[in-house]
């Protein structure tokens, strides 16, 4: 019996010929990630481990300031400083301060720190994003991250894999975000708990790297341990532009065992929206717009949709227009590099001229941290990945999730809007 892509990567990192779902392994890690929140707790744990004075490899740890930065308050500044001091003390090579990084999951691929076949663990649930590159990547809590800092290995239970096959060409205004919302809606928020998702099909073969990032990012929204794509020429070209490191491109065996195979027809798919208050409460936009749903805030950004491709779509829709006077639009380019690219392409000017505020890169608004927090009774449509009660601020606020196009269309009209109707509103 063959192995899935996840099983192959795990077996190699555990020094085994093969692994089976359910098996507990000790696997070597290629990279350990933390942000200032997860690192602060992890550093505290590491200080208590006897004999653990140094990290296992100062070149295989990435520390990114992104959640409450630029520091929201003195307490947040304390955590940011704690991580910065630790990076200095341990001579951590990949430390990204404000202005030199951005959102961790946007930064790591940009910096060539993620390659096919690698095993990456991170103190953030959206670490699964790197599955877009054919890596095994999973989120963990701070104690596990502290252990990985010190040992350079983690214990893992090999997950069974769910194969999802996407076929068909996406229709007008249907993007990777819509395809992934449909996937989360189909599986349910615990539909892939303890499992790996392996993405297949002609639709995903045709997707850009950014599209695959958006989809891998939200694997956790179905509870998955990881979500993984096969690396192809696009992946290899992207990675080789950014690193000289050797990496191994592997494929799932033809006779690999999958727990389930799910097929999703993309050709018939409309733009999708996740309604409050769970990311699997997903409906086609035509159902959602049956009623008029005014919004107070539109948010564009995050590790799901804060990439240059996303901002280009938004800029194309808002170019020469003004956003609805009834709402505010907050845009967070995902990283300093995305911000600079958007500046060079004139995107930031288009967005600001339309009435959007363009913030510094960071996670703040997405998780109700700062710089875009919702108040009681407010409603937001957002390109982010979660819409649980209180996710973006008040527990009495509502969050809808959609693609950058759906969010931009809604910004123009002030109500949740099908981007396919933009012609009717003069775009």
């Amino acid at each position: 019996m063959g192995m899935t892509l996840t099983e192959k990567i795990l077996a190699r990192h555990a020094g085994l010929d093969r692994v089976e779902p359910g098996q507990i392994i000790n696997a070597k890690v290629d990279l350990v990630l933390a942000n200032e929140l997860s690192a602060a707790v992890a550093i505290g744990v590491m200080r208590n481990i006897k004999g653990a004075d140094r990290v296992f490899d100062n070149e295989k740890i990435a520390l990114v300031e992104d959640h409450f930065v630029p520091a929201k308050d003195a307490q947040s500044a304390k955590l940011a400083k704690l991580m910065k001091d630790f990076a200095g003390e341990q001579n951590i090579k990949h430390f990204f301060d404000v202005g030199r990084g951005g959102i961790e999951h946007v930064v790591l691929p940009e910096e060539g720190l993620v390659a096919p076949g690698e095993l990456i663990v991170g103190g953030d649930s959206h670490t699964c994003t790197y599955g877009a590159f054919g890596a095994f990547a999973t989120g963990m809590g701070s104690t596990d991250i502290a252990a990985a800092f010190v040992l350079g290995e983690v214990w893992l239970r090999v997950p069974p894999s769910i194969k999802i096959v996407y076929n068909g060409t996406p229709g007008e205004m249907v993007f990777a975000k819509d395809i992934m919302l449909k996937t989360v809606g189909t599986l349910g928020i615990d539909g892939a708990t303890y499992r790996a998702i392996e993405y297949h099909g002609t639709t995903v073969d045709d997707l850009s790297i950014t599209g695959r990032i958006t989809m891998a990012n939200m694997a956790i929204e179905a509870g998955a341990k990881n979500g993984i794509f096969h690396a192809d020429e696009k992946t290899i070209a992207y990675v080789k532009e950014r690193t000289n490191r050797d990496f191994l491109v592997e494929r799932a065996d033809a006779d690999a065992m999958y727990e389930r195979i799910v097929e999703i027809d993309v050709a018939s798919l409309e733009p999708q929206v996740a309604c409050p208050h769970t990311p699997d409460n997903v409906h086609p936009i035509s159902e959602v717009t049956n009623e008029t749903i005014p919004v107070d805030q539109v948010f564009i950004g995050s590790c799901t949709n804060g990439y240059i491709e996303d901002l280009r779509i938004v800029a194309k829709i808002l170019d020469g227009k003004r956003i609805s006077p009834n709402l505010r639009v907050i845009v967070n380019p995902g990283s300093q590099k995305v911000w600079m690219q958007a500046a060079q392409e004139g995107i930031l000017t288009i967005l600001a001229s339309a009435g959007c505020v363009v913030n510094t890169p960071g996670c703040g608004a997405c998780f109700g941290g700062h710089m875009g927090t919702l108040g009681d009774g407010e409603r937001c449509i957002s390109t982010t990945n979660r819409n649980y009660v209180g996710r973006m601020g008040s527990p009495k606020a509502e969050v809808y999730l959609g693609s950058p196009a759906t969010c931009a269309a809604s910004a123009l009209t002030g109500v949740i809007t099908d981007p396919r109707t933009l012609a009717a509103v003069g775009v």
């Binding site: 507990i24 929140l37 997860s38 602060a40 707790v41 505290g44 744990v45 208590n48 481990i49 006897k50 004999g51 653990a52 959640h67 409450f68 929201k72 308050d73 307490q75 947040s76 955590l79 991170g122 103190g123 953030d124 649930s125 670490t127 989120g139 963990m140 809590g141 701070s142 104690t143 596990d144 502290a146 252990a147 010190v150 040992l151 290995e153 214990w155 239970r157 928020i189 615990d190 708990t193 303890y194 956790i220 509870g223 341990k225 769970t278 998780f367 109700g368 941290g369 700062h370 927090t373 979660r386 649980y388 009660v389 209180g390 996710r391 601020g393 527990p395």
Partner: protein
């Protein structure tokens, strides 16, 4: 382990267990003041030390924030019984020493306010109010050995000592 049950539904996510705005706090007692705030703002004022959270499936879904189980523990809650747990929360709870029990039948047989007694070594959950008794699912052997060793920290220390010998 003995306390009154506070019962909740499915998919209690980490955003309601400890809202994002508190995630820059590291002190367990301080975090504990806000435990479950997004779901039940009165939980911490109503509960007494030793009380037990009882919930349906997928408890702790969402983010990897370790402050979620830390907040629950910091509030004085003695344990969480659920039909199932989300993956990262499960690891985090074991790692920080928040006792968790997977016991679907017990969840169905417990109502808010019932007095519950848990015997952790045997996994026996008794509903003293209703006079019923349940057994929680056993931890997989590797996790049981981690728990018996006192958590992940002693495990890491042991691995480091083994390496030092080589």
């Amino acid at each position: 382990m003995r306390g009154n049950a506070h019962k909740y539904g499915k998919n209690v996510d980490t955003d309601v267990i400890i809202p994002g705005k508190y995630c820059n706090i590291i002190d367990a007692a301080e975090l504990g003041k806000h435990a479950l705030e997004g779901l039940d703002a009165e939980y911490t004022s109503r509960m007494k030390t030793g009380d037990i959270i009882v919930a349906d499936t997928n408890f702790g879904c969402g983010s990897s924030r370790e402050v979620a189980p830390i907040a629950i523990k910091g509030s004085g809650t003695s344990a969480v019984i659920a039909k199932s747990f989300a993956r990262i929360f499960y690891r985090n709870a074991l790692n920080i020493g928040l006792p968790i029990f997977e016991a679907p039948e017990a969840v169905d047989g417990i109502e808010s306010g019932d007095e519950i007694e848990i015997d952790p070594p045997s996994g026996t959950i008794r509903n003293l109010t209703k006079g019923t008794s349940y057994k929680s699912a056993a931890f997989p052997p590797f996790m049981q050995s981690l728990i018996e060793a006192g958590g992940l920290q002693p495990y890491v220390e042991k691995r480091l000592a083994e390496r030092a010998k080589v």
